[in-house]
Symmetry: D2
Subunit: 278 residues, 4 copies
């Protein structure tokens, strides 16, 4: 369960008392208070008896607790994996990494489809038996291509989208349909080096550390709420190609961590920032 509301006295006491009265066993609870803005956030995991009807719990919680505190809240069950659509272009390292991780159960998500504006990575999809849709995108065909993408996403009941080095800008229309549900990997330590060719920029600036950033996609390019980042040392001996090679490991790890956090409902977006529960 994820909860967001104004900070008020007694929230924790009443939420925990509620689950206690429902004969639940709280196995995880974490909360965060933004003191400056007086906002309260909570994540809670609870084991409920099998006889309990989840819809009853939801209705009761709304009536007995949520209304009082004017809460925004969501209660999720573990019954099924989220469905993740992958968007790719020509870079294959993140794609292979995610396919492998899902295949071995490290990432508990299902991948109903892969969409690409190029046909190059079809082989990777085929190796792992995932449907691959090649939808070319040009300036002229972009609106039409996006219609086709949205149709496919709907047909496959996709829960969220991952841009695994998809080299196209996603339009506001698609973003609006999947708010805070599109995860991108950017190959720099944002906000340093947004936009195209960040490794080249990092090289020419002479930085001693490079990074990668995974964030939710918003209409402002590379400006969305950051989910996860990591960095690695480089030096003057490394060429741009070395930067790219070292960066690939960062991208793989940062993106897979972000997806794991999202899939386990450990992220909350608040303003342009994320709260990441442990």
């Amino acid at each position: 369960m994820l909860i967001h509301c104004r900070d008020q006295k007694g929230i924790i006491a009443q939420v925990t008392a509620f689950f206690l009265s429902a004969d639940g066993n709280i196995v995880y609870i974490d909360q965060y208070v933004d003191r400056e803005n007086n906002e309260f956030f909570m994540r809670l995991e609870c084991e409920l008896p099998e006889t309990v009807l989840i819809d009853t719990v939801r209705r009761d919680f709304e009536d007995k607790v949520a209304t009082k505190f004017n809460m925004l809240w969501k209660l999720y069950t573990r019954s099924r994996n989220l469905k993740m659509a992958l968007f790719v272009s020509k870079y294959e390292h993140c794609l292979y990494d995610l396919l492998s991780r899902c295949s071995v159960g490290e990432l508990k998500v299902d991948i109903p489809l892969i969409i690409s504006n190029h046909d190059d990575l079809r082989i990777a999809a085929e190796r792992f038996g995932i449907p691959f849709y090649h939808i070319p995108v040009t300036a002229a065909t972009k609106p039409e291509a996006e219609e086709q993408q949205l149709r496919l996403l709907e047909e496959h009941s996709v829960d969220f989208i991952v841009l695994a080095r998809y080299m196209q800008i996603v339009s506001p229309k698609v973003i609006g349909r999947y708010p805070n549900k599109i995860i991108n990997i950017h190959h720099s330590f944002l906000p340093a080096f947004p936009g195209a060719k960040p490794y080249h920029s990092a090289f020419s600036r002479g930085v001693k550390i490079i990074g990668a950033t995974s964030h939710y996609v918003t209409e402002e390019l590379d400006e969305g709420p950051i989910i996860e980042q990591d960095t690695i040392r480089v030096s003057h001996v490394h060429s741009i190609d070395d930067f790219i090679m070292k960066g690939k490991d960062l991208e793989r790890i940062v993106l897979s961590r972000a997806i794991k956090l999202h899939a386990e409902r450990k992220t909350m977006v608040y303003g342009n920032k994320t709260i990441i529960f442990s």
Copy 2:
């Protein structure tokens, strides 16, 4: 407040309800459950109205909550800094680092005295105006020296002891008097390279990373509950002297972090492990 008890239903609900009824405002709450052993741990920060008597809160909590759950608990107030005694020998990097951090308010502890088995570091103590006691220790004089140490610690109402590269083994008697209140810095990534000359051992093993470990002192040398560790990369080009030099930064940082955690009551010892609250 720190709480430890068997895991049971309703703990969080009742603890939070208690502080709510005392008109308190919970500003921090974190809890951890060891599922395997069914143990519950909690750390809670609460702002109470000035009119509230802390002893009344303590008595009420014991009566209304703690007894029911059979809790071990401690309630601390922020009214004063802890008093930290420093034990040193000849290495000065940790000593200077801690004196500086306390001097600038980065570590909120008072240092009533420094005890050393050598006179070398008196200058550092004098620079920062801290009383320095030179108590030589030989096999023959050790019991007597420890008596003198204990007397001084008591006279200065010391709350906890930090061995800032003190090159002597502390006897069970002293450890018994300050249980889980003596913090040591060991210059390796424990449990690798316990005992003497860990940098030499690390060098001869050819490791690619070295570390430092801060832990509570128990009777088993270098086996106490670990509070904090960190590591740094080395390579074949580094000599033992380079290891030592790089290690100094690790030691400084790891030890100062451990002290900060201890001083802010963010550590709980459980078995031979620590729980470190955020």
Copy 3:
């Protein structure tokens, strides 16, 4: 070219002069001197005119330079990828990672075969089109199984072997046939937690950082020359399963880096340590 000899005056001058006289262009040179033991190590990359016969260079170098300094040396050409055999059991994360990296050209090695004592990972091999040999190993059949392994390795002209979480101890016979050519990944920060179940040991010791170590296999289990290590932070909230999950990323990265270093001839073994050129 890799060179090892006693440290003497004039080595660099004469080696570089030799390649200059052969009309070569030195594009990389790095050297390391172990002052304590007076040993000299060098790695050098040189572009030679196409008309030059590599065997002539080798003979001339031996005659004009190597003999004088009593050098151990090897001169390699870039003409072909090394052939790497993978040994696996049931853990698939390293296997998938290596297959992906080779498939996309990130690791410049060929994989002629995968050998496993279990049949579980055949699917991964098939997905990437690599021959998979299931050779069960029991105490009774071990000698025979190793004969079969050695035969296969020879048939496929394997250059080096990678134990990608192969859960069997490799016998001295195999090690003797591939000296400093068998790379293992151990899932701890060696020398801490050698042997079986290191994550369990790390958990029970309460460490705050876990690691992974890639090393050349010698007859002493987990005691061979370390090629690469890395670490990641953990805390009391992490279960053994969390350790294992976090460790998988370490294992993948540490093993793939070690293989890359080996494949690019950037490692030299000296005593029980490695020299890793940049």
Copy 4:
């Protein structure tokens, strides 16, 4: 010795042959070639017989080697520590850290004076017995203040300047007098968050990692050649004050590493980048 010239065949051979002929023993040599721009850089340490006159070596090297390759080069001796002036304002963590490190011999530099635009840190200077000059700076008095600074720097034969959180912009005049000899510490991972209040900017952007950067000061604020950087993880639970506290450790370490590299002549500036020798 540091060397910079166009990349040409035979440089290494002739340089090493030169020192061989001077009866020198090369104990360190490292070189870097920028292939794109065809530039060659080298750092070399050599033990010369005591009978050798260093000026003769310099003249001979110029005549026999440097002229031929059109080299820029410098030959330094170990005979004395460099003299480092510290500029500070009100933040004391870097100042204490550097004073301690110099005091214990970890940084092999002398500190003839500390200059500050505020009087607050006089106590730190006095504790370590370093002359402290309080030179207030206002918009009106800036030119005059800088004259006074330059006079003091000259009087004390200062070799290089360290801005240890000096909260003033240094004018082109001072920079021109000490080109690539003024080292600044900026409390962000540049080029992210240049200018004032980087921790505040990092907090408001919601980054998951913060950093610090040490660089040579040029006329473009926070744009000079980067010497060293490092990063540390943060999360949504950390306030701006936490960022600042965590950042202090980064600043201390990054700045002291940069000074050590500079003092040991391991840095070369090339364009707007540095080459950092090992």
